[in-house]
Amino acid sequence: MESLALLLAATLNAGTLLALAALGLLINERAGIVNLGAEGMMLVAAVAGFATAFHTGSDWMAFAAGACAGALMAAAFGALVIWFNTNQYATGLALSLFGAGFSAFVGIGYAPEKLSERVRFQIPWLTDIPFLGPALFRQHPMVYLTVALTVALTWFLYRSRAGLVLRAVGESPESAHALGYPVRRIRMAAVMAGGALCGVAGAYVSVIYTPLWVEGMVAGKGWIALALTTFATWRPIRVLLGAYLFGGVTMLQFHLQGEGVQLPSQFLTMLPYLATIVVLVLISRNEGFIRANMPASIGKPFFPGS
């Protein structure tokens, strides 16, 4: 029981990191823009967050710095793909490479540093409930905020007028343009919001998850988040559940290894990827459902007046 509770707790922690980035990418993609630069944005945000936490001692300042760094990177990307109509995939890849190199360069001085003592969070009273306390109520506040964000994003996309406009821009920018909506500006806002969330995820890696800075430390989480967005058919709740599933299977396979289960570790290492893809493909195998949720103009440039 005890170890199951701890496994759940670790799952929430691991899933939050992926969910934050994947939700950010979902906002981009709902507006029709694919940003393959997630890994690069997360790395730059990770070093920005680490440096801020190191100098100010505040996790929240670090998240803010990470969000700003991510949004800035995304703004550069957005300017190129939205106004200069560069290829979204090539520009995103360039952003990823740039982020990896740039973060390594500016982070040189921070590699030997460590953050001050980490605070351990728990919710009073709730934390003493047997099983549920250690499983759910001893997490960093960002874990709960991510759940709230998922709910808020669902409401925003499907219940608010602004969300409808955002989706319209991703479905048919021409129609949105004809109705008088500033398609390019809306797309830019979506790209920057997505970058900011990827930035928060990056800061979460270097300040909360693995409190250290070393170059390349995001180690592929950005790419996993990108894949997750697609496999979850651009639905926020599914993104969150997919992220927990991935985090959960990752922790489970380590747990099984530690318990000496007789399966090759190489197979277990592969398991989170396999399980997440299989589950998400199964729940969204309905072709009509995919068509209904996939932004119709994803990845396509928009030329007003053409």
């Binding site: 190199g101 380590f254 289960v261 007789q262």
Partner: protein, 390 residues
């Protein structure tokens, strides 16, 4: 529409070039570190600025797999390079190139540094073996030194360090400090070197506490801080209270710090990363070997061969032992260290029993290097089985 897309194409190209330049900045920048290493025979000005009568310094190049700022494997190698510079002063000039992947790129870098006049070239990772052999066959007047490999040539030899001795000493500390009698190891890739370290760590712990068990979790990577964190967390969840790792970052140590458990530094002294969790660091000093190798070339007595250095030669040590470790435990570590130094203490001496209960080393039998190089089993006390073992 055409002008827009043309202009945007140019922009995109510029952006990609900028990104590529930035991504490569890490590699390029380091070559500047060789200002003194530049004097080609046709550049009398720089030669004169050193000293007119002095002989040309021996040029030595170090090729690294990781960044020197990794705080682990490559950092330790670069400390070795600095020790060489300190030892020989202006008799030599060193250069290093970092982040060279284990691919065809490595061959290009070896040829490049050789063409710049480096007469002794060190390669710091196993995967450089084949490219280095190829280049060594072509450039007979250059000496090559390859870390952790097993193939040699007339002008290429190998060197390695007995990291398992450090793991064993760390195990002695771990065995004395654990309260739960469960130790955890985050393993990188299941190759004999790493399995040997896990076994030696466990043997060290058992030498002071026969009740300990070791749990092992493999991440199948050398470097992936989030994964290392997850693996360490799952070991802690499983009851381990002292952790060790064979991966390249300080993530395991940081995770232990956050959870209020103990862990060790690996390859380099990692005390500063986790002042509470850090029990000691098992470090590699490449300096003594590098000094010997450079000395061999300077004295014209370099011959091919294979070296495997440990505590005895000053290549392996357990440093920065925490104040939390009781004095009698420290004394035990010191005794082991002294014994390894004068050769009176042998780690891999029978009877040693495998995790399946079979005797792998009979009573009083001493393992030779061939045996140590082929360890593919866990010793008794390590839980589970080596991945792939039947």
């Amino acid at each position: 529409m055409t002008p827009i897309s043309k202009r945007s194409f140019v922009k995109a190209a510029g952006w990609i070039a900028l990104a590529a330049a930035a991504a490569l900045a890490g590699c390029g920048k380091k070559e500047e570190a060789a200002p003194a290493a530049a004097p080609a025979p046709s550049a009398p000005a720089s030669a004169a600025s050193v000293a007119a009568a002095k002989p040309e310094p021996l040029k030595v190049a170090f090729i690294y797999i990781g960044p020197v700022g990794d705080g682990g494997w490559t950092f330790a190698h670069d400390n070795g390079r600095k020790a060489v510079e300190k030892e020989f002063g202006d008799k030599i000039a060193t250069t290093f190139v970092e982040k060279v992947p284990e691919s065809a790129d490595a061959e290009r870098v070896f040829r490049d540094v050789a063409s710049q006049g480096n007469k002794l070239i060190f390669g710091s990772t196993f995967g450089y073996m084949e490219p280095m052999l190829k280049v060594a066959a072509d450039l007979k007047d250059v000496k090559f030194e390859h870390a952790t490999g097993y193939k040699t040539a007339e002008n290429m030899r190998t060197y390695d360090s007995r990291t398992y001795e450090g793991a064993y000493m760390a195990g002695v500390v771990a065995g004395g400090m654990t309260k739960t009698n469960v130790l955890g190891v985050v393993g990188s890739i299941p190759i004999p070197e790493v399995i040997r370290n896990i076994n030696s760590f466990t043997l060290g712990a058992q030498s002071v506490n026969p009740k300990v068990k070791t749990k092992v979790v493999w991440v199948n990577e050398w470097f992936n801080p989030p994964k290392e964190t997850e693996a360490a967390q799952s070991l802690i969840n499983g009851g381990a209270d002292v952790l060790m790792q064979n991966t390249d970052s300080s993530a395991v140590l940081q995770t232990a710090e956050k959870a209020g458990k103990y862990a060790f530094g690996w390859d380099s002294d990692m005390k500063a990363y986790a002042p509470n969790a850090h029990l000691a660091s098992a470090v590699i000093n490449w300096g003594p070997y590098y000094i010997k190798a450079v000395g061999d070339v300077l004295d014209n007595k370099w011959t091919s061969g294979q070296s495997w250095w440990g505590v005895k030669e000053g290549a392996i040590d357990l440093v920065s032992i925490s104040d939390k470790v009781p004095a009698e435990l420290k004394a035990k570590v010191d005794a082991v260290k002294a014994g390894l130094k004068d050769g009176s203490y042998v780690i891999w001496k029978g009877p040693i029993v495998g995790s399946d209960g079979k005797v792998v080393l009979a009573k009083d039998a001493v393992a030779d290097d061939k045996f140590l190089g082929g360890i593919k089993f866990y010793v008794k006390g390590v839980e589970g089985k080596v991945p792939g073992e039947k």
